[in-house]
């Protein structure tokens, strides 16, 4: 058995002339909390729909938990909990009745234990008090919680959560993060799609970056950061002169303000940069090397800001 919970090969989806997902090779190790990061419209949901067998790829294929999809969907999907593009429930049923329906549809779930499992799932997402209310009266955050509860009705080896914190208040967002961490600690693999950089930084062990349908990077979070070139900042009263030196040393994206110059360290060693600055007579008041933020990493990978893919 492979040690990948999700493995895709050249997964591609075309809608008419638009390529929504372009040859994506996902490799999500078992036990990982994999942040599937990308701005709105970058193809995350479309990828997830293909992973779950809701739509047929134009090209490519994938395995979930070591089994080929969609052929083995009946064996695999009961072990996969999913939240796809927001919650979807019957408005005129209560939250609890909606969960009853989802559970009744699951041939692998035991009817005898349904009520207890439903109560536990509701409790886990903090919806017990509102369980008897009609779904249509729920706030967006409560709807989102109910969708997460539906994914937790039975123990799952893999959770595929598409933007689970959408519509949640800061408190709810924190709760979901804690929940994801707890699920991971219990041994579930989590694939968490998000357009929020902070979410990835706070809960994920691995990150895959989507940009315009392409998976432009996929690595353990620490390694992605380490691979990205750090920024060097020089505090000085001669930022112009400092910037010239930085450029000469091969730094890129050099910028200057009134009291500092900064640039991205490429192959240049920081100590050599400092030596060169001093050698050229630039007064150095301070010198720092900063690990890049995830946003910096994203800009480096895609050459543009973290905004909506068109």
């Amino acid at each position: 058995m492979t040690d990948l919970a999700v493995a895709s090969h050249g997964l591609t989806k075309r809608f008419g002339s638009q390529v929504a997902v372009d040859a994506v090779d996902l490799a999500v190790p078992r036990g990982a909390v994999f942040g599937f990061l990308g701005p709105n419209g970058s193809g995350k949901t479309t990828t997830i729909r293909m992973l779950l067998g809701l739509i047929t790829p134009t090209a490519g294929g994938h395995e979930l938990l070591g089994r080929a999809m969609p052929d083995r969907a009946a064996d695999v999907l009961p072990r996969v909990g999913a939240l796809v593009e927001g919650p979807g429930f019957h408005p005129y049923l209560s939250g609890r009745d909606n969960l009853r329906r989802v559970d009744a549809a699951d041939r692998t779930a035991e009817g005898r234990t349904a009520e207890a499992r439903i109560a536990a799932a509701l409790d886990r997402v903090g919806l017990s008090a509102a369980a008897a209310k009609r779904y249509r009266t729920y706030s967006l955050g409560m709807k989102q919680r109910l969708a997460i509860a539906a994914a937790l009705l039975v123990p799952r080896e893999l959770l595929i959560l598409d933007e689970p914190t959408n519509g949640l208040d800061p408190q709810g967002t924190r709760e979901v993060r804690t929940l994801v961490a707890a699920l991971a600690a219990e041994g579930s693999t989590v694939l968490l799609s998000t357009h929020l950089l902070a979410e990835v930084e706070q809960v994920c062990t691995h990150v895959g970056v989507m940009h315009r349908g392409k998976l432009v990077a996929q690595e353990p979070l620490g390694k992605l950061r380490a691979d990205a070139a750090p920024m060097a900042r020089v505090l000085t009263d001669q930022p112009g002169a400092a910037a010239t030196v930085l450029r000469a040393m091969g730094l890129t994206e050099v910028t200057e303000t009134a009291a500092e110059a900064s640039g991205r360290l490429g192959a240049a060693a920081p100590e050599k940069v400092v030596a060169a600055l001093v050698h050229d007579g630039v007064p150095v008041r301070g010198f720092t090397v900063q690990a890049p933020s995830l946003e910096d990493v994203f800009v480096q990978l895609t050459g543009r800001g973290f905004d909506v893919s068109s």
């Binding site: 729909r49 809701l54 047929t56 009946a74 009961p78 996969v80 979807g88 539906a150 579930s188």
Partner: protein
């Protein structure tokens, strides 16, 4: 994490859940109440109308109105005759239009499929719900008609269309036969509806399309110049339910209707499956 053993049970839980979903829906309850109200309205209208005035049969079907005054039994048949051209088809269209398109519209379809519910199993359960509705609807009309008729006009031996007389109990059996026959007809209509419901994410669209198809089918069936088309029309033999009120009952007279229904069921269930089995679920 140890591998969870997956065992698939043969279980009626999903079907029971589907029935419950249909039953608790206010709209469906209201629809059923409307179906039940029509025979009551007919009975009251006949009671207050002058005794010498009698109504007309509908859509070329047998005329049961003239007999209501002498026997409440015929309120049920008159009610069925009136509702067969529009009310009953609309009821089935509401149910069938909602089947797949309703789940798609609410976003519940993607969650059912990822549970996972196999697509064929989903269609089967959805169709089972429609079939139950198709048999329940005429039964509700008949029951309401019998109760209203007995209350306002009393019962008694039933005069068949052949002029013979049968007991009230035997009449009820014939009425049950009528309901079953129409149940099969409406089941076929439901198969068309299920197919339409796989084409769209708008349940109302499927409902309206099916209602319009039914009305069009009735209209085309009335045009003599199109008699070459008539054997293919779903609604062509619906009025044959009157054959069950003859003495003796000729079951062979019901055959064309049953065969037409069977053909429609087979064709449109296959079409629904062909359409739904590989469809991209982007709702």
């Amino acid at each position: 994490m140890s591998q969870v053993k997956i065992r698939r049970r043969v279980s009626s839980r999903f079907l029971a859940s589907e029935v419950r979903l249909i039953a608790v829906r206010r709209r469906n309850q209201a629809g059923l109440a409307a179906l039940a109200a029509v025979p009551v309205v007919i009975a009251i209208a006949m009671k207050v109308a002058a005794p010498d005035r009698t109504g007309r049969g509908q859509g070329g079907g047998p005329d049961f109105f003239s007999q209501i005054l002498s026997n409440g039994f015929f309120v049920a048949l008159a009610g069925i005759g009136v509702e067969l051209t529009l009310f009953l088809p609309i009821a089935i269209a509401m149910l069938a239009g909602d089947a797949v398109a309703g789940e798609a519209n609410q976003g519940t379809l993607r969650y059912l499929l990822t549970v996972p519910v196999g697509r064929i199993r989903l269609l089967a359960v959805k169709y089972a719900g429609i079939v139950m509705g198709a048999f329940l609807a005429p039964l509700v009309v008949a029951t309401s008609g019998i109760l209203a008729g007995l209350l306002l006009f009393g019962g008694g031996d039933v005069t068949t269309l052949s002029g013979t007389s049968i007991s009230f109990g035997a009449g009820l059996l014939r009425l049950l036969g009528v309901c079953l026959y129409l149940g099969v007809c409406l089941t076929a209509l439901g198969a068309v509806g299920l197919f339409l419901s796989t084409l769209t994410e708008q349940p109302m669209g499927a409902t309206i399309a099916l209602t319009m198809l039914t009305v069009a089918s009735f209209v085309l069936g009335q045009i003599p110049q199109l008699d070459w088309l008539h054997p293919y029309l779903l609604t062509q033999h619906w009025q044959d339910f009157g054959e069950l009120l003859r003495d003796p009952v000729s079951l062979s007279a019901l055959q064309p209707g049953l065969l037409t229904a069977g053909a429609y069921i087979a064709v449109f269930l296959c079409a629904a499956w062909a359409r739904f089995a590989g469809r991209d679920i982007t709702s």
